[in-house]
């Protein structure tokens, strides 16, 4: 029986050593991934269900791949949802999935807090948050940090810059949560209309708040100066349509990451992107495919990290099999 407290909903409840443990496990998983026979029996007899209420290619397929390599039976459920649809159906869907004996439910939902809502109601399945609204995307943040550590070593005092639509980004929130546990210097940059008001002066946040140590830099060249990691975020076209931005063209010229603008970054700085990429808007084509880009490595590490997470949430059972 998997303990329900094993849910992975965000990184705030994880300690730095627990995160390190996942990274160590991911190293092992990478070896499995790179071997000729990509199959283990760690999750044999377990059912993993991906329940996605939003479109996704990389996250869903990487979870599916992770589950299958570990020997789990994986079922994919894609549920399109309109905003008018009642959450009661989410509840009922989840109950149904629990009743068909899902051991792990991997949930993506457009509403922040949806996995917390389910974790309150379901007591037999473990929930992994694969992105909820603007709130969190813990497995993405873990794989981002995993890749960062590979390239820049320790995260302490490293300058990590997020550029763009901070307000709507669950990736940034989870990254801040995780990175602050390792003492990284987090800088956010973008037009103020896409930055939460409280991030403009994070020093006013309550003591001990996980977001307290971030700083806002309005100018991209200053944000990039001596940066170790630069992560532009996907800019959705609807931000322009809803009046948050005058035009994507202007955005690209002031906040788009180009080779030219990267001159002042550290020479070995890495360029990351949570995907999918809008080339020519938040990031130029030659940066995406340039020598400092680790964007494809993020995708590869995504499978290893998710294998490590699936292993960790089913750990009790795994040890029994062994």
């Amino acid at each position: 029986m998997i303990k329900s407290s094993n849910h992975i909903l965000d990184l705030d409840l994880m300690t730095a050593p627990q995160i390190e443990q996942i990274f160590n496990d991911a190293d092992e998983m990478t070896d499995i991934l790179n071997s000729d026979y990509k199959k283990t029996e760690a999750l044999k007899g377990k059912t993993v269900i991906t329940l996605f209420f939003e479109p996704s290619t990389r996250t869903r397929s990487s979870f599916e791949q992770a589950g299958k390599i570990l020997g789990a039976d994986v079922i994919n459920i894609v549920n399109s949802t309109s905003s008018s649809k009642k959450g009661e159906s989410l509840y009922n869907t989840a109950l149904t999935i629990q009743s068909i004996k899902a051991d792990v439910i991997i949930l993506r939902h457009p509403h922040s807090g949806a996995p917390y809502f389910l974790s309150k109601l379901l007591h037999k399945s473990t929930i992994i948050n694969a992105g909820d609204g603007m709130h969190a995307h813990p497995t993405q943040a873990l794989l981002d940090m995993y890749v960062m550590k590979k390239h820049i070593g320790t995260l302490k005092n490293k300058k990590i810059v997020f550029v763009g639509d901070i307000s709507h980004s669950r990736v940034v929130r989870s990254n801040i949560c995780g990175l602050s546990k390792f003492g990284a210097k987090i800088v956010i940059c973008g037009p103020q209309s896409l930055i939460p008001t409280d991030f403009l002066s994070a020093e006013n946040l309550p003591q001990n708040h996980p977001f307290k140590n971030i700083s806002f830099e309005p100018k991209l060249h200053k944000a990039i100066d001596q940066a170790d990691v630069i992560m532009p975020l996907r800019l959705q076209r609807e931000r322009q349509d809803s009046g948050l931005l005058p035009s994507l063209r202007e955005y690209a010229s002031y906040f788009g990451v180009s080779l030219h603008k990267l001159q002042n970054a550290k020479p070995n700085a890495i360029i990351m992107h949570p995907g999918p990429v809008n080339e020519g808007v938040e990031i130029d084509h030659d940066v995406v495919h340039g020598p400092n880009s680790v964007i494809q490595e993020q995708v590869e590490s995504g499978v290893a990290i998710r294998m490590a997470i699936l292993k960790s949430v089913t750990q009790n059972e795994v040890s029994k099999i062994e």
Partner: protein, 439 residues
């Protein structure tokens, strides 16, 4: 002739005539026959022993949602008025955002009849300010006032169009009834589901900034100045709103306002962590409690401090509940999908009494805000005044009784209380409406 009721030796607090002392109160039929330091009991009297209790005028709620007609699964006049009586209320003003809305004389009269036949206490109807509460054209206000409307509101939504608001206030000036506005600029509140603050940022929930409320409060003050109409600001929730209202009152603007129990006692951090004093800022299973989703949203502690200060200095005239009962299907869902509203009419007094215990407001102020305050806005000397010859609308409260909030025991159909499980001090032990013991 019905049995006389004698309430013995309670501490009578009647802010209307500044009474505060131990008295006996004798009730005959629906009226108060006598108030005296000692009334000789008679074996035919029904005796209520009120030693150790306070005896106050029945509370008046200027703002609640009874949901009938149309949403009887959420509340009815019968259940809502019983719940109100359990909270010490003997008069409630029902908001007109029902289905259909109370926007014409026949509909208002049918609600009045329903209230008479099924209501446990007095229900005074508020009529819609505009047809179907759509904000496009005014309701027939002269006729509705004659039929018993005590004010007009499109509550749930603001009266958005400033031209329509101006005309509503013109009618208000002539009819001497308030226009009660739910101040919210929808372009600023957008898809917001809670207060815009670091809490909403952390939870990833779209926020509603204080300015969404304040900019419309500001507009309404200007339109009240222009017309002389009585603007009553519903459920003020921000520091900025009370500053604007304080200034307007200094200038003699015809403005009143109310605050709810939840805006006086809770902050938005309850949506992150049930224990608002917690310093760990961790999102847990208790986070995203849809029962704390309300509009206007729960704000920050500095807003709460401003509201308490404004209640004390008279900027805020009254406490009104905005009791908004919902069914489980409206609340058992994600935070974004949940309906706005808190079921609080049964916990209103007790939850605010904590502020009295903390010496943040006086007991007299609390009682005034629930009695003569709203009576004054209603233009009545009968209600909210526990005096000889008046209706026997009386609430008896044990100030020392501790109890745990258990929504399952609410008389309201709405179990949507964010203070589920809290321990409160003080409880309404009896509510008498027009000489009849309701609770």
């Amino acid at each position: 002739m019905s049995k006389k009721i004698l309430i013995q030796q309670g501490r009578l607090i009647n802010p209307y005539n500044k009474t505060d002392g131990i008295f006996d109160i004798l009730i005959q039929n629906n009226k108060i026959l006598e108030i005296s330091s000692f009334i000789e009991p008679n074996e035919t009297f029904e005796i209520i022993d009120a030693r150790n209790n306070i005896v106050v005028p029945g509370f008046i709620d200027l703002h609640c949602h009874l949901r009938e007609p149309g949403q009887e699964f959420k509340e009815t006049v019968a259940t809502g008025t019983m719940a109100a009586a359990a909270g010490g209320f003997t008069t409630v003003c029902a908001m007109p955002n029902t289905f259909p809305p109370i926007d014409s004389k026949p509909i208002l009269e049918s609600l009045t009849n329903l209230s008479k036949s099924t209501g446990a206490i007095r229900v005074l109807p508020i009529a819609a300010a505009t047809i179907k509460s759509e904000g496009k054209s005014l309701t027939e206000m002269f006729e509705l006032v004659d039929a018993g409307a005590i004010g007009f509101s499109d509550d749930g939504n603001p009266i958005y169009d400033p031209f329509i608001m101006r005309q509503a206030l013109n009618f208000s000036a002539q009819l001497k009834v308030p226009i009660i506005n739910h101040c919210e600029v929808p372009e600023l509140s957008k898809n917001g589901v809670m207060n815009e603050s670091w809490v909403s940022t952390q939870l990833g929930l779209p926020g509603i900034p204080n300015s969404a409320e304040e900019s419309m409060v500001s507009r309404d003050i200007l339109l009240s100045k222009l017309t002389g109409g009585h603007i009553h600001i519903a459920h003020v929730s921000t520091s900025g709103s009370v500053n604007l209202i304080r200034q307007a009152k200094k200038e003699g603007v015809n403005i009143t306002c109310e605050v709810t129990p939840h805006h006086l006692t809770l902050t938005d951090s309850i949506i992150l962590n049930k224990d608002s004093s917690s310093q760990d800022f961790v999102i847990s299973n208790d986070s995203y409690d849809t029962r704390a989703k309300v509009n206007p949203p729960l704000r920050t502690s500095s807003d709460v401090d401003s509201l308490i200060e404004a209640l004390n200095d008279g900027t805020i005239d009254i406490i009104a509940t905005d009791h908004a009962p919902h069914s489980d299907i409206d609340k058992i869902c994600t935070f974004s999908e949940a309906a706005f509203g808190i079921s609080n009419i049964e916990t209103a007094f007790s939850s605010i009494y904590q502020l009295v215990i903390n010496n943040q407001i006086s007991l007299t102020k609390l009682i005034e805000s629930l009695t003569i305050g709203p009576a004054k806005i209603l233009g009545s000397h009968q209600y909210g005044n526990l005096d000889q010859g008046n209706f026997a609308d009386i609430t008896i409260i044990d100030l020392n009784k501790q109890w745990e909030v258990n929504p399952a025991e609410f008389l309201s159909k709405g179990k949507n209380s964010p203070i589920d499980g809290s321990t409160l001090t003080s409880k309404v032990v009896k509510t008498i409406y027009q000489g009849k013991i309701v609770i």
